[in-house]
Assembly symmetry: C2
Homo-oligomer: 196 residues x 2
DNA sequence: CCGAAAACGATGCAACCGCATCGGATAGTA
DNA sequence: TACTATCCGATGCGGTTGCATCGTTTTCGG
């Protein structure tokens, strides 16, 4: 068999592996959403993903590796969605709302995110992934904010990011309603726009 | 023996109980700070508190009750510290800094708080305690903010609370340094003051 | 077509979990 | 001093955890 055939096959296998990895990562997110990070066990993950436990072990040498990949997976998805639309100045509102995950459809992602953040506080590896993700979002936000003509765009971007995250958390624990959080976010953005 | 003697003894016993409860709660916080909520097991808690496992079981019927009490314990402590100083208008800076737990001495409390918040997202009982605590802080913040002559003091108080929480989280995962977070918070407060 | 290699799912394993139970130590009452 | 009720710490128990190991099946290169 020719080398290029070998390459094909190898790639195909690798692709399958990656697909299975992603499916497992999805299962991790589902469980983390439902029962928190404690509810993420290898057996339950395998059952949710519709694979055997051995498959999970083969895809990820250890549970921590699995969680690391899962965090990277969801981070990637969220970041891509945020960066998805055009980066017009008017998109700041949309972007901010998506960062805050205020839409009910994103409630699940918000819970997963919170579970990972909490674990990242005591797991340097997870923290690294999270930090990288925040820096990516910060860059995007800074661009949008600076387009408003605001001074200290970076600081304002960071503040907006923190505000959005805090609001998400407060909604999750039931302290604020989604509507109230959305109003607060909107008010903040209005003020930011007025500043420019 | 007279009834009042009985009352004395009973009270003394009850006091001992509460003291032991608090000591156990402290141990819970220590462990949650070091290894996250997963690291909080009855055995480790007992060892940390310097009591037997049976003592922990006797103080709290179940693990959830223990966690519930521990959350109430730390919430109370933080809230009291925040409300401790006089509520002058100038104290807004101090209060905000203490809410954000930016001082390195509060780093541990911040980690514990995050661990509980994450669990509260999937535990209604914990969420109730947390929500009550947030509402308490909100009232204090609203009073301070309204003293600045700001319109929509409640909304601004909520925004400030969310910003502080978000900054705390971002510092914990290593995305922001304490100094940067403090600057952002200060900048926000300055703007708020200028608004009034 | 065949042999090596990889993937597979099932099962085993030691450690740990929360909780229940137990006999003995202790303290309060008459 | 006896009696009793509470407290105490140790141990047991069923269940679950993450991970290792097994024989078997599938896949792929020659």
């Amino acid at each position: 068999m020719q080398p290029h055939r070998i390459l094909e096959v190898t790639l195909s296998r690798a692709t399958d592996r990656q697909q299975k990895r992603r499916r497992i990562a999805e299962a991790v997110c589902l469980l983390a959403d439902e029962h928190g990070m404690d509810g993420v066990t290898l057996r339950d993950v395998a059952a949710r993903a519709g694979v055997s436990m051995g498959a999970v072990q083969r895809c990820f040498g250890t549970k921590d590796e699995m969680l690391l990949f899962a965090l990277g997976h969801i981070s990637e998805r969220v970041t891509e969605r945020i960066a998805g639309g055009s980066t017009n100045a008017g998109d700041l509102t949309r972007v901010a709302a998506e960062i805050a995950l205020l839409d009910p459809a994103y409630q699940h992602e918000a819970r997963v995110w919170l579970a990972f953040v909490a674990r990242a506080a005591v797991s340097p590896l997870l923290a690294d992934v999270l930090r990288r993700n925040y820096e990516l979002v910060e860059v995007m936000l800074e661009r949008l904010v600076s387009a408003l003509g605001v001074t200290d765009a970076r600081g304002q971007a960071r503040a907006l990011l923190a505000l959005a995250d805090g609001l998400t958390t407060h909604v999750l624990v039931g302290y604020l309603t989604r509507d109230v959080a959305a109003d607060i976010l909107k008010s903040h953005l209005d003020r930011l726009t007025r500043m420019g």
